[in-house]
């Protein structure tokens, strides 16, 4: 368990949040022109990084807003949170 600093509500327990998976996966602009391989890449393939990873989270039991998070998956330490549409504060 860890604390998450919701960009809208401030620090809350992780149990108030829902993880939404890898962030910055761009929806295909021309879905009809995608090959099967590209669909597989978009739908199923995930980086699943051991280390620093970019993620989406939703404060489901709070403001219900989505935001992004940079987190080290090897020790669950959060490096940064930032709003949807914003550029990641660290690389």
């Amino acid at each position: 368990m860890f604390l998450i600093n919701c960009p809208f509500c401030g620090e809350r327990e992780q149990s108030e949040f829902k993880a939404g998976g890898e962030a910055h996966i761009v929806r295909p602009k021309q879905p009809t022109e995608l090959s099967d391989d590209e669909w597989a890449e978009y739908l199923f393939i995930r980086k699943n990084i051991k280390g620093v990873q970019f993620e989406r989270w939703n404060h489901v039991h709070g403001c219900r807003k989505w935001f992004n998070m940079i987190r080290d998956t090897s020790n669950d330490q959060i490096k940064a949170v930032y709003k949807m549409g914003e550029k990641p504060p660290v690389k």
Partner: protein, 417 residues
């Protein structure tokens, strides 16, 4: 040739105070080159090596393990074995494993304590009832034993379950697979290790893979903490770390690694002589031979390699356990732990060749890999030795995520993944 374990060897060794048992496996340094290297010394990896040596006569092989054998998810699961999966492909895969379990102790000359005490899955709402009945029919069409039980029959089979219709999620029925049960998880790893070692397989512990060397689309070997090992075939069975290994070869997998938790209570006298699983409230319980209640909780929804899960997951599971088994209300929990499970989008495993020649992956077992250990090893060995899948694991190829031919066991199997 290793000495056979028997009542006589037990008596003989008692005279020397059990101080002269021969080593069950050697502790070799890696050779320069092997015909095949298995990455991951858990149950699945050791079983793969065992069947490669036994059925495919590949004796010049090694298993490399970054920690100690059986120290990962093999030693962390809740040891439940069953094969009552919905789809034909899954039923074939898991029942293949169950059939091997039935003779495994004799085959390995190692008591894996396989106990066919039955696994019961509970229904808590009308949709559960429909799903479980459907699955029962599907199982029977595939030759897998399954019966549907009404609430009274559930109570009769496991009297400590609270079948009051006044609880939040009342028990409306359940299914029972009598051939299902549990086994001793460590013994499975140790038994396969001993069997593989006897046939000449090198089991190399404390040897972490740091890189995979490729020449174009062909593998050449692995970089490890004990140096470079040349090989033409690499079978990766790294569970939660599969994506990490795949990354070393420039391969991407459809996996997410998440913490799955379990816990055991203090030991008590025999109280529950079966395994009871509940999909809707996500709680399952059995009792170990030592008397501890073995309780399985769910996964967290975020990716983590920390082998720690959230407290609220455990709390939710224990809430459900207490409502279903009020008799456990004063039990104290002894240990709680997490393991990192690699979950596929369709909650079915991958036992497959890859786009890189000589690189094979056995992964994606998610929350339920232990039950498949012998079958997984057997089929993966077949795939590696022949460079072709066996018909039982053909459906579990990695290309199904491109073709769309998924084996969707999400929630369709007996427990939510």
């Amino acid at each position: 040739m290793k000495n056979k374990y028997s009542i006589f060897s037990l008596i003989k060794n008692a005279f020397s105070y059990h101080e002269n048992w021969e080593k069950a496996w050697k502790d070799p340094e890696p050779k320069k080159e092997y015909d095949a290297v298995i990455v991951g010394g858990g149950g699945h990896g050791l079983a793969t090596a065992y069947y490669l040596a036994k059925k495919h006569n590949m004796k010049n092989i090694a298993v490399v393990e970054k920690g100690w054998i059986g120290g990962g998810n093999t030693g962390r699961n809740t040891t439940i074995i069953r094969s009552n999966y919905l789809w034909d492909a899954s039923a074939g895969l898991y029942d293949h494993a169950l059939k091997i379990w039935e003779g495994l102790s004799q085959e390995l000359n190692y008591n894996v304590m396989f106990s066919q005490r039955g696994v019961m899955n509970l229904a808590h709402n009308l949709q559960d009832v429909r799903d479980l009945k459907r699955r029962t029919h599907a199982n029977r069409l595939n030759g897998i034993d399954a019966v549907y039980l009404n609430t009274e029959e559930v109570k009769k089979f496991c009297p400590i379950i609270n079948t009051s219709q006044d609880i939040r999620y009342p028990v409306l029925g359940g299914t029972l697979q009598k051939r299902a049960g549990t086994a001793r998880h460590d013994a499975v790893a140790w038994g396969y290790a001993r069997g593989a070692d006897e046939m000449g397989v090198d089991i190399i512990q404390n040897c972490e893979v740091k890189g995979i060397k490729r020449n174009g689309d062909t593998v050449e070997g692995i970089e490890t903490t004990k140096g470079f090992i040349k090989t033409k075939k690499i079978g990766v069975v790294a569970a939660g770390h599969s994506s990490v290994i795949a990354n070393m070869a420039g391969l991407k997998l459809p996996l997410e690694s998440k913490p799955l938790q379990a816990l055991v209570s203090e030991p008590v006298k025999p109280i529950i002589d079966t395994v009871v699983m509940s999909n809707a409230v996500h709680a399952y319980v059995s009792q170990s031979d030592k008397g501890e209640l073995v309780i399985g909780a769910g996964t967290d929804d975020y990716v983590s390699y920390s082998q720690k899960g959230s407290h609220d997951i455990v709390e939710g599971t224990l809430n459900a356990i207490l409502e279903l088994y009020p008799i456990f209300s004063r039990m104290r929990m002894l240990r709680q732990w997490g393991g990192i499970v690699d979950i596929c989008p369709d909650a079915s495993p991958i036992i497959s060749k890859t786009s890189i020649k000589g690189l094979y992956f056995n992964c994606g077992w998610g929350t339920g890999g232990f039950k498949a250990t012998p079958g997984s090893g057997d089929l993966f060995a077949h795939t590696i030795a022949n460079d072709e899948p066996h018909k039982l694991n053909a459906a579990f190829n990695i290309n199904r995520f491109v073709s769309g031919d998924l084996v969707d066991e999400h929630g369709a199997a007996a427990v939510a993944h």
